[in-house]
Symmetry: C2
Amino acid sequence: MNDSAAPSGRVRARADMTDRIKETARRHLAADGPNLSLRAVARDLGMVSSAVYRYFASRDDLLTALIIDGYDSLGAAAEQAEAAVVGRNPAGRWLALGRGIRAWARENPHEYALLYGSPVPGYAAPQDTIGPASRTVVVFVAILRDAAERGTAVASGGPRLPAAVRADLERLRTLPGFGKVPPLVFARGMTAWAQLFGTLSFELFGRLTNAVEDYDAYFEYQLRAMANYVGL
Amino acid sequence: MNDSAAPSGRVRARADMTDRIKETARRHLAADGPNLSLRAVARDLGMVSSAVYRYFASRDDLLTALIIDGYDSLGAAAEQAEAAVVGRNPAGRWLALGRGIRAWARENPHEYALLYGSPVPGYAAPQDTIGPASRTVVVFVAILRDAAERGTAVASGGPRLPAAVRADLERLRTLPGFGKVPPLVFARGMTAWAQLFGTLSFELFGRLTNAVEDYDAYFEYQLRAMANYVGL
DNA sequence: TGTACATCAGTGAACGCGCGTTCACTGATGTAC
DNA sequence: TGTACATCAGTGAACGCGCGTTCACTGATGTAC
């Protein structure tokens, strides 16, 4: 409770209350989905609904905060999962990353839905979400880059890269940290990335009910299949 | 207007009105998402809100009807797209199927989100949705079966199938029409299926903004990559 | 160390709105004889 | 072919509820001198 040091009094109370509001709102995501109710959140906290406006300018602002927190939470989980196997080869790091993402998603299914499910109608994500949103991608690209440097990821076979796709990839290579990944490896990486989130969404959104029983084994197989496909 | 033959008078008027309500509700999906308002739909149709209850017992019933219609509409689009290239080899049929699914999704983005996006909070899909939901899968499995029979899909390499995954696949093989597909081909098929919907959701939910410019070329490449991966 | 003032978290009432659903009803459309 | 009756689509009012947001306010906490 009292574990923070320097900032005391009002500033800490404010930070605490902000956290409590977000935490309560996160719980409401489960019941209400993205159309959560400010008044319900306030009610749960035993405060009057207008008091929430001391902390968030509007319902959308609160939603934005939840989205940013979600991306940061997932990003941190992904970074930690990968960091825990530091020194492992790219395939091992990919597996750790994928498992970390899945573990987070299963622990926070409604936040996952908020981030990777249907867009919220009438809500436009502001620029502030872009940075946090890319943290997981950055971890993945570092793995690809490492694999490319080691020379393990030598994609061959498969369809030719269309010129337009190649152009997109060349443009992405100009981003910091993306440079060393050869286009074909990058293309396969994007295939694997979509496959990972496709499989995860299938699982979490109930699209595999009656088809898959052992989700752990299923996901693990898919991860390994993609590691192999990308050449990690 | 008057193009149906036998059923005239009240029964046709009822069918027409039911369609108009669903059509209006579909338009509202865009603005309100799955939390569409019965009253708003009624208003758009110039009728009083209670009149809608002559056609649908509740808001959830209307939503269920939209979901079933959505699956049927997508299923029909998928079947037609594949039927249009009848006689082509499995790879060509897979490409046609994938393109058909994507075309439908881009024409009906909000219905796509309803079917493949986040589950609607508080809504439990009834059994009636299962049949329509599987129409697209049935088309895909027929392609896999054909490829297996021709012997083109001989998956080799890649990770070993874990026993639990193999057990799931063996169970699926007992479904009508699924029998002849070897487990490993089936497993790769599921990989491709998740990849397809993952890529589509990324595109439609805006997860590729600033990364991909030519979505047509990108999707086409992914489709071909998966055709190659499955061995079609 | 003590006092005057500024800050600001939380209150409570209100505005103006929308929602799903029920219910008794009217009046047109259909059916049976 | 004509009449009596049943069906049923649509009305309008109401119930009971919830929502986001604004606004003037109180009173505790902090800051400057």
